[in-house]
């Protein structure tokens, strides 16, 4: 095909990047044209983030280089990249926790000198976040924000940067639909202004809907770059996972548990729980929840409605102002995380490196942390166990001794899931687990949870911003809004629309 109008801006030339034991990028060559939205698709660990980081100058390739406007940049640094207008919005929001929203955005804006006042950008941020459709308090400290709110901060930042090349690494996964739509139209606007957008995702539908071209990656290599005319969901899936590697269907609704007849004591029970918020007022208000053995309770709500806080209360990381918390009838109110873990309650967090894992420690050590309280560790045994888990959950890591922080986003999540499924005996608290998982793994995870809860009577509290997932997994659905539980329904008896209304009410 011949495209007379295409103008190349940036080329990735034969780039290879090796991490100890992993070939993250293997002779990757890619050309980006002005005025295109180019999607990179690939399963967990296929090298998408690494590619973006090379383009942004964060990683120096072992071989090959980046060429900008025909000029080879052998040692591209992030400072150079930014000077060329290349900005990277990372997979996990890259914000300084202890600074406020304004401060985080201000430091990224080159157009303000060192003597600019912080107050100058405040109104700009309010304005921009209104445009995106989700108001963010510019004075809020980042550590108080939910994951999605942080992503929105990144989006606001991105739209103030005046980027020429915007690299967007899986930030759209959990955004409320309205925000996501607005963000897409912002990306289209960039395109119409002759800019380049590199949209990294593992959602095939997203790529097909938004992109002009799609490049599919697998194990560090480019499988193929396809033009809009060739877009077809099934075809793309095959490119992504190989001919037969894909489970295309979400799990069939395995029998719902009949909870009405079971008159057993609640495994987890919150009794009129109130929790203070860092910023103002209460983060959780008068929460009543109870979960029976083997029950899967989905708690759904839009970002910032108290889900993170709820999860933190359930695992003992946040103190309860008033009300009681019982595990198996035992009062564990404000007894701290140890007591709750000791009761056999596992936790899969949306931010594993913050809540679950120690990034500098290896997989084996992290496994030991969670499962062994003894002074001396049976290292051999643990290493074997880690290998087994890596095999079972398809975790890509050089070795069991690799520090966790160097794994890809999805692999970190997989490892967390593996470990907590291994650990949890009584109940599992799950907070937005699927954000960084590719579709294939996501469905198999949901399947696994269902099977375990059916076969072992383990209870699950599945807290998520994704209504689809909650509907897939739950026996009972609760909606959380503004820190309150505004409705509890059994899965069979409720319409999707009802839940949607309650979520945004």
């Amino acid at each position: 095909m011949f495209f007379p109008s295409r103008q190349s801006f940036l080329r990735v030339v034969d780039v290879t990047k090796r991490f100890p034991g992993v070939l993250a990028l293997d002779s990757v060559t890619l050309e980006l044209y002005l005025s295109e939205i180019h999607s990179i698709l690939g399963e967990n660990g296929s090298g998408k983030s690494t590619l973006a980081k090379v383009i942004a100058g964060i990683y120096v390739p072992d071989r090959g280089y980046i060429e900008i406007l025909g000029k080879p940049m052998k040692l591209l640094s992030p400072v150079d990249a930014v000077n060329y207008g290349i900005y990277y919005i990372p997979q996990n929001p890259n914000l300084v926790e202890r600074l406020t929203v304004v401060e985080n955005i201000l430091i990224a804006l080159k157009s303000y000198s060192a003597f600019a006042r912080v107050s100058e950008v405040r109104s700009l941020i309010v304005e921009e976040s209104q445009k995106i459709g989700s108001l963010i308090d510019p004075e809020a400290e980042v550590s108080e924000l939910s994951y999605t709110q942080r992503q929105i901060v990144e989006l606001v930042k991105a739209s103030l940067l005046r980027a020429r090349v915007l690299l967007v690494d899986e930030v759209t996964t959990y955004l409320p639909t309205s925000v996501r739509e607005k963000f897409y139209s912002y990306l289209r606007k960039l395109k119409s202004e002759n800019k380049i957008v590199l949209l990294i995702t593992h959602k095939v539908s997203e790529a097909v809907d938004v992109a002009d071209r799609i490049t599919v990656m697998r194990s560090g290599r480019i499988v193929k770059t396809i033009e809009k005319a060739e877009f077809d969901v099934d075809y793309v899936r095959k490119l992504m996972f190989g001919e037969n590697g894909y489970i295309s269907e979400p799990p069939k609704n395995v029998l719902l548990k009949d909870l009405t007849t079971e008159n057993r004591r609640a495994v987890v029970k919150l009794d009129r729980v109130w929790v203070i918020s860092e910023s103002r007022g209460y983060a959780l208000k008068d929460i009543e929840l109870s979960v029976k053995p083997g029950e899967i309770l989905g708690v759904v709500g839009i970002s910032g409605s108290g889900q993170r806080e709820l999860a933190e209360v359930l695992v003992g990381l946040r103190s309860i102002r008033s009300g009681r918390y019982y595990v198996d009838g035992l009062d564990v109110t404000n007894r701290g995380p140890e007591a709750i873990r000791a009761a056999g309650i596992g936790f899969i967090s949306e931010t594993p490196l913050y809540h679950n894992l120690s990034g500098d420690l290896s997989l084996v050590e992290n496994l030991a942390l969670a499962t062994y309280g003894k002074l001396f560790l049976p290292l051999k045994l643990l290493t074997a166990k880690t290998r087994e888990l890596m095999e079972k959950y398809g975790i890509i890591s050089t070795s069991p001794k690799t520090p966790v922080k160097v794994l890809s986003g999805g692999n970190i999540m997989r490892f967390t899931i593996a470990r907590e499924l291994e650990f949890a005996k009584k109940a599992l608290i799950v907070l937005n687990p699927s954000r960084s998982l590719d579709e294939k793994f996501k469905w198999s995870f949901i399947n696994t949870i269902k099977n375990i809860s059916r076969s072992t009577d383990m209870s699950v509290i599945y807290i998520s911003e994704s209504l689809d997932e909650v509907l897939q997994v739950s026996d009972t659905v609760a909606v959380i809004n503004g820190g309150r539980i505004v409705g509890v329904f059994s899965r069979e008896s409720v319409e999707r629309e009802v839940l949607e209304k309650l979520m945004v009410m």
Partner: protein, 308 residues
Amino acid sequence: MIELLDWLIPTLASAYVVYTLTAIGSTVIERSGILNLAIDGLFVLSSSLAYAYAIYLSILLQPGVLATALSLLLTAVTTALLYSIYTALNTVLPVSQGAVGLSFMFIGYGLGAVVGNLGRVLFSLFRVRIEYISVTQNSVVFTYLLMVLAAVLVYLVLYKLKLGVLIRAVGEDPRLVSQIGINVAYVRFLSGLLGGVLIGIGGALFTLWRVGGWSQGQGLSHGWLAYAVSIAGWRYPPVIALVSVFFSLAYVLLPYLQSVGLPIEISIATPYVVSIVAMVFVSITHRRSVALLDPKSLGKTFFREEQA
């Protein structure tokens, strides 16, 4: 009582100014994530530099306010340059900040002795008198106000200007900040300049005002005292300006305590004991505001790329 106050207020003023400025300077540096282990050495060096500059300028121009003021200025500039090298080196070198810090400390001690003795030699050749600073009873209140002003100014820079936000950001998470295209070494270089100016003025005033002369080993351990003030003040300028009053008081009252019969050993130990107690107290207090927490990456070696 009145007499005691008459003596105390001006005596206290010089100590207060020296420790407050030096502590605030050290704060600016540590907020950028650089452990200021060099402080005592560079404080000794700047107090010696002030003496040598003052002698030299008094010979060159003539003894007077101008020579003194210029030597103050030159000391501030020299210290600022040294500190900016210190902070930048600490960022680019992949070695521990402890090693760099202690090296600079000893270099400071050594150079301080050399520079001070150089001043001595010049003095014995030319016999000039330095016009030392003295503050009259009437204007002493003014110096306190000036310190409040300094604390407020540095506070504004750190918390209300982009420069300060950058400094605090690299103190929190330098790798993250470098990934958004900011030159961490450059930001720390700037924090070294700013902090260094303040420490330089502190060191210079120690010689030109508080002591009014120079002797071997001058300034030794006073850098550490200022460091303690900075930590006890939660590395937060307004609090430092307050806490510094008590430190300076403890220090100034020493000779007085001796005169009423306290054994000299105990009285000499007093400020250090006060420092240790204050620092322990600070480290166990619960700080509600994040602005008061220690910078997260303080003292950590900076690697740009994720290490496997």
